[in-house]
Amino acid sequence: MVITIDHVSVEAFKDETILEVARRTGHSIPSLCYAKESAHKSSCMVCAVKNCDNGQIIPSCTTLPVEGMHIETDSDEVRLVRTISLELLLSDHRADCDAPCIMVCPQGLNIERMLHFYDGGHFEEAYAVLDAAFLLPQIACDTCKAPCEKVCRRGTIDQPVSIRTIIREIAAKAYPVSPEGGKKGWKLDKNRFQSRIGRFTEKESLSLKANINTSSNCLHCTCAGQTGCRLRLFATEAGIKRSRYESYSALPAMQKIHVSGKLWFEQAKCIRCGLCVYNSEDGFTFKGRGFGMQVVIPEESKSNIEEEMAGLCPTGALYVLEK
């Protein structure tokens, strides 16, 4: 079957969707809710293209081509639909890509990562992170006014994390540097899109205060699933700085649920594409409808979920937490 994509005639094979034809023939179309080998249903509309024969905007990831179809993948109209779709998803996405402390550290210390190791009792790795950023970790922050503590999200709940005290504590012990810790030259890429959690609601504050009791007190704002996050990737590509729409969500921010093994689930980062729902048996499920619709995992069904599920999630909502 022959169809036309952006004025070029291309061959479409049997059972291929428009997205698959387009990608195979060198057109780049973003997509979030699509997964090649797994069950998926169109929902995100980030893969929108235009069917020029009837003027309709269609999801390319599930639409099958018909003979002679004319598809447009790169017009202003199509790009606007994709951008708005991303902005809408981001307006409902209450999460930080990188923790605020990291953003403001003049020395580029990956504070959250250091605290992550610290909270896990992995002091050597924590020291390594510190060592990667400072020549002399022992006097690292002595002259700094600690903007990290000023922006610390924990501070909006009760007390900011005493980052400098903890750094001194780690530095004082001068552990041997563990290779598993920080990499030399780690640098925050400020050109990438940064999602922002915004203010906690009163309810969230209370619940976070009560439930997050790490030894450092750190909330660990940095998104643990950011490496595979396509939402951030496409938002960066689309040049989005922040969503133009009012941002709030019906989902609780920062509620991290342990699923099984190393698998964790954070609802607020979910874009409700349903990939984990369609691909698990009596596992993840939708709850409610409309704007408040959530993806949930009932306690009793957690054991039905494999760690590999994290690979399907297009955002950092479902992630594997290493050491």
Binding site: K41, T62, L88, S91, Y245, R272, T285, G290, F291, M293
Partner: protein
């Protein structure tokens, strides 16, 4: 002693499980029965208790994932126990424009229901807003359990509660005392302004004195005007079994006889029947259900000349004399002739081509050519096919499908059987929304009678065609009016629409070709067959044939259900049939098609009723709600109202509908509270256009229409709102109430104020504390000196 409590509890649990088991055994254990199963459980226990739910996991194929996903999708299902009585505040379009929001707030205040709760602390009442009760001419309407109250004013809420409790008290007292005689019944008397003008006040007095005199214990209940104005005074006698008998044009002198007729032993009754009231039987109606039915009654007995001008009855043929469930009567009036005609003289193709030639288009909203749909289903070689009658009428302000299912069940059934024959299907399903219990009862009874008459079942009417029909009750989701979502819900899934193609006509229920037609579409089929496609296609315009039933409501003098030929103008409907705008106000716009439709401004109301013409204006026929708006209605608020409905009803699957509509609503909220900027209007428009473009199903694609049409025709109002002005005073964030010098300090307002915003200062000009004031307007209604006025917060 504590252990006694425990044992009781254990026993209750076991008992409960036994009851749950019985229900599971009755309904089934497969995944596709989840909705009927949950409905049955809820009916038994009033909510879905965890015990019942756990038992489902244990004994059926239904797992947690499915149950959670389904039970939280449909609004019918409750997960927490409710109070003893349930108050449903109708927030349909007509009720909204008449102030349902204030009524709801008043109930919350009056019942002292706490924030974030819906139940009173003593668990006596729960309250919820519901999309539409379908009593639009009685707006604002409230239903408490089975009792419906019309024209409920915010200030009268306490009276409604008292009346209800009094009634309950009576019932309970009667029950506890094991009284020999229950309340004999109820007499309802129209007491609208037109009824009173016709002398219903005298009738009311006569009813009271006669019932006392005769010692008959009846409730005499004045009810609002329903528009049957040339038949008033009109009374309904309601017996304890719920049956209603209607007496139009009663005279005071007849009252005693009527009371005797109904409330005396049978011997006396038959005696009377022979020598009196023969004519009464002409108007004698069937067993019916509360005064919702008043509406469909109105269709049969409402014989106002002007109201009838320009109407044409096809779907409602038989109006005025057909008793809904009397199958013999229907047959005597050439009912099922069309079915017999096609079974004996037509082959399937001829039926399809007749329907195709008639030009009829689907009445559900989209306006797809019905014959085409039939053709596609008929062309499939698949042996198993389905016909579904879509009775999931969810538009607030539309109730024509309900009326047809309730009043003309056989006509719809006949249309369905013909459709089944034409497309080669052997199974039909009525999908009827949960809020229409009477429609379900009627259709069920009608189907039973049809079965007895061999009109459904094996070898219908001696032919070799077999067709069986079942009923599926919807569970409360507007999106299920969309055919793929409807099918998903019959299959026991969330009502998520599926991407089309494949269309249900090709691959529908259980993957089989499925014909989904609206109730009204099916009700027109027998006419087309009987009279021929030519005669049918003579009615209407080039692109839209036949008639359309509308629910006419809002600021209109005579509201109600009307059936008009396509091509009639909106002005004709409003002025000739509806008697013009209520209260001699000026017409501002007509909202057509409910949340998927749009507002057509007054200057365009000379347009003809036509699918394509509406679409061109950015509105759509929808299922046929027609709400008349006057100069005192705010268009921005109107847009917000519809959007909040669609936002609530969005299934949540695709981004544009789930988040896009919410963000549009955010902007509208800002506009209505005077906090928006000019750029917000453009942002709203851009977002609306893209939601329309990129949503995946009809709900999302049409949801922006109310916004886009009001932006198109009333943009100046949006701009005024940015400046902080709502001329109509509808948007609460922009007005305040002030007391003028005309005040004499009578303290009526101070007493009426539910939040004590008006200090009790006798003989002094009253003041209103704007911080406390909730803008309910009670003080304005109370003031005898016209001293309290709504003024804009900012000056114009």
């Amino acid at each position: 002693m504590a252990c006694t409590c425990d044992t009781t509890k254990v026993e209750t649990n076991e008992e409960m499980i036994t009851r749950v088991d019985a229900i599971i055994d009755r309904i089934g254990k497969t995944r596709d029965v989840v909705i009927p199963l949950l409905q049955a459980l809820q009916q038994e226990f009033s909510y879905l208790s965890s015990t019942a739910v756990e038992r489902i996991y244990e004994r059926t194929e239904i797992d947690r994932a499915q149950l959670i996903s389904v039970s939280t999708f449909y609004s019918q299902f409750r997960h927490i126990p409710y109070g003893k009585h349930l108050i449903k505040v109708c927030t349909g379009t007509a009720c909204h424009v008449k102030g349902a929001g204030n009524v709801y707030d008043s109930f919350i205040r009056e019942l002292k229901i706490e924030k974030d709760s819906i139940t009173t602390p003593d668990k006596l009442f729960s309250i919820e807003k519901i999309a539409c009760l379908g009593c639009c001419t009685l707006a604002p309407v409230v239903q408490i359990d089975e009792k419906i109250y019309g024209h409920v004013l915010p200030g009268k809420v306490n009276e409604v509660i008292e009346d209800f409790l009094l009634l309950q008290g009576d019932i309970e007292k009667e029950e506890t005392e094991h009284a020999r005689r229950k309340i004999a019944g109820e007499i309802r008397l129209g007491m609208g302004s037109c009824c009173q003008a016709s002398g219903s006040s005298d009738i009311y007095k006569e009813l009271q004195s006669a019932s006392t005199q005769l010692g008959i214990q009846v409730n005499i209940k004045p009810v609002g005007c329903v528009g049957v104005c040339n038949k008033v005074p009109l009374i309904d006698v309601v017996l304890p079994d719920g049956s209603i008998t209607r007496y139009p044009k009663v005279k005071a002198s007849e009252i005693k006889e009527i009371l005797h007729h109904h409330f005396k032993p049978a011997g006396y009754l038959s005696r009377l029947k022979n020598n009196f009231l023969n004519h009464v039987d002409t108007f004698h109606t069937d067993v019916t259900w509360d005064n919702v039915i008043w509406k469909s009654e109105h269709e049969r007995t409402g014989v106002i000349d002007t109201f009838l001008t320009g109407q044409k009855h096809i779907s409602t043929e038989g109006f005025g004399f057909l008793a809904p469930l009397n199958i013999d009567e229907y047959i005597a009036h050439s009912g099922f002739d069309a079915l017999k005609k096609v079974l004996t003289t037509y082959d399937r193709k001829e039926v399809v081509s007749t329907i195709l030639k008639s030009g009829i288009r689907g009445r559900g909203g989209g306006g797809f050519t019905t014959g085409k749909k039939w053709e596609i289903v008929a062309s499939s070689l698949n042996k198993e096919k389905y016909v579904i009658c879509n009775g999931d009428e969810g538009d607030p302000g539309a109730f024509m499908d309900r009326m047809m299912l309730e009043s003309y069940p056989y006509r719809v059934i006949e249309g369905m059987i013909i459709a089944g024959y034409a497309v080669g299907a052997n199974k039909g399903i009525f999908y009827i929304r949960a809020e229409y219990p009477l429609a379900v009862t009627r259709i069920r009874a009608a189907l039973q009678l049809c079965r007895e008459y061999n009109l459904i079942g094996e070898n219908i009417a001696g032919s070799n065609f077999s067709f069986d029909v079942s009923i599926f009750e919807g569970a409360g989701a507007f999106v299920c009016g969309e055919e793929t979502a409807l099918i998903a819900s019959i299959e026991g899934e969330r009502g998520f629409p599926k991407q089309r193609p494949p269309y249900p006509a090709v691959e529908g229920l259980h993957g089989k070709p499925t014909l989904v037609n609206n109730v009204e579409t099916l009700s027109q089929i027998s006419y087309i067959i009987n009279k021929g496609s030519d005669q049918y296609s003579q009615i209407g315009t080039t692109g839209s044939k036949g008639t359309k039933v509308f629910a006419l409501a809002g600021k209109i003098r005579f509201g109600g259900l009307i059936e008009v030929p396509m091509g009639i103008t909106l002005n004709q409907i409003i002025n000739d049939i509806g008697g013009g705008v209520e209260g001699d106000e000026k017409l501002k716009a007509v909202q057509i098609g409910g949340p998927s439709g749009g507002c057509i401004p007054a200057h365009l109301c000379d347009m003809q009723v036509d699918f394509d013409a509406f679409n061109q204006l950015g509105a759509m026929m929808g299922s046929g709600g027609l709400v008349v708006l006057s100069e005192s209605d705010c268009m921005v608020d109107m847009a917000r109202y519809f959007l909040s409905f669609t936002c609530d009803q969005s299934c949540g699957k695709c981004t544009f509908c789930r988040v896009g509509i919410r963000r549009m609503l955010d902007i509208l909220d800002k506009l209505c509270s005077g906090k928006a900027e000019m750029s917000d209007i453009d942002m709203l428009e851009q977002l609306a256009l893209n939601v329309k473009k990129a949503s995946l199903c009809g709900l999302g694609k049409t949801a922006p229409n109310p916004v886009l049409t009001t932006l198109k025709y009333f943009r100046d109002e949006y701009e005024e709102h940015v400046k902080g002005i709502c001329k109509t005073g509808t948007c609460k964030g922009m007005i305040k109430y002030v007391v003028s010098d005309a005040c004499i300090g009578c303290t009526r307002c101070a007493k009426a104020c539910p939040v004590d915003a008006i200090p009790y200062t006798p003989y002094e000009v009253h003041t209103i504390d704007t911080d406390k004031c909730v803008l309910c307007g009670l003080c304005v209604n109370e003031c005898k000196y016209d001293a309290i006025h709504k003024v804009p917060l900012r000056s114009i």
